[in-house]
Amino acid sequence: MHDKIERQLLENWPRLFGYAVTLTRDRDRASDLLQQAALAALSATSPPQEPVMLRAWLFKIVRNNFIDGHRRTIVESKHAATSIEETEVWGFDDRVIAALSVRQGLDRLAPDHREIIELVDIQGFRYAEVSDILGVPLGTVMSRLSRARLALLDVIGGTVRSLDRARRRSRGDRLG
């Protein structure tokens, strides 16, 4: 079993590191967190047998170690009341969605939003696996993810709008 865990650790090492960075927002702390999690995984007495479950289990260990280390839970964002009505017309300009703006947008999201987007879109977990990793019901995963994406679109749109404003201001200064 030790071999299986070690193989999974190796195969998922870059992804686990990405997740640890998302949790800690710091490369050095992420590195420490990951080493602790790896030792915890290798010392586990009853890990899951299935490789797919083993992978989700490793992410859960990283998360639990992070929570233990910080003696806190990942605070659920309270300001995430952004919603869209079905009757609203979708006016989002897809051209603002690009790797760079998305990366900047992710940095500005609430931790729980950033985390769930990371697990689904970057790590490729199914909703059921995310539910297990986070320890929340499936319905919560769905609603939290959809709110998180809306918040991300909002942040990206906001960034672009403020850039537009800056450009307009700069143009106005030159003209003035």
């Binding site: 070690e6 090492w13 960075v21 790896a38 897809d94 969605i97 769905m142 993810l145 994406r149 991300l152």
Partner: protein
Amino acid sequence: MAIGWDKLNAYVDGELDAQGNAEVAGALALDPDLAARVASLARLKACVAEAGKSEMPPPLRTPARSVPPRRSFAWAGVAGAAIVVLAVALMSFALLRPAPVPPAPARVLELSGLSAAAAIYDRWITGNDGGGDHQRPLDWQPMGQPPDLGEARLRLVFRDATEPRDRQAVFYGYVGPNGCRLGLWIGRGEHGGRTSPPQAVHLGELAGYVWTAEWLEYAVVARGMDPERLASLAAIIERIIERDMKLDRDVRLALQNAARTGAACS
């Protein structure tokens, strides 16, 4: 029927059942606004995945397991008796102490070279190597010249010194006549000068061997290469490096044999 935002997200994530998928697909065909939302979500998902391809991770430090010492035939009987005594002792100990404690790590195995080698190898085989000048002189060449693997019909065609960014390292790419690609990564070690023998490693579909010697760390990697051939080549490369790149008759023969070992690269 109105399709909610949660359901659209689940649709884009492939989380709906057949009926749910059909429902959303039907609604999309009739509602351009809904289709625009799905397009935005799909684009967002793709960009997040792209943005997630991030930094080089630190090395994985795993507790290395000790290799059993080689026993001579004459000692086999004595060792067998000792094992029986030890087993009895362990059983008694286990009865007194029901919760076994895992052994403490004896030493640390550094595997950062594997991550670096994997990153460059992927760039190399996908042709996405940034269009760099791979012929210009390298700032750091730990061995003078890279190993000559010509006897194994492997030709040096690529080199790169960009991974990891914060460390002196170099990657050499070799190609065989049938498209086999073998990468050799050498980096300044972070292992405190310890020496460790080649160890088989896997990173996704990439297979390889990593080892350390005299303040340098090595990784030999390939994808789709016969495991036996890869093992032979790694052992021979270690030997060539150990002998300051000298190719004696034995090494040449070993290289020729390695080229004939196992199936063609897939």
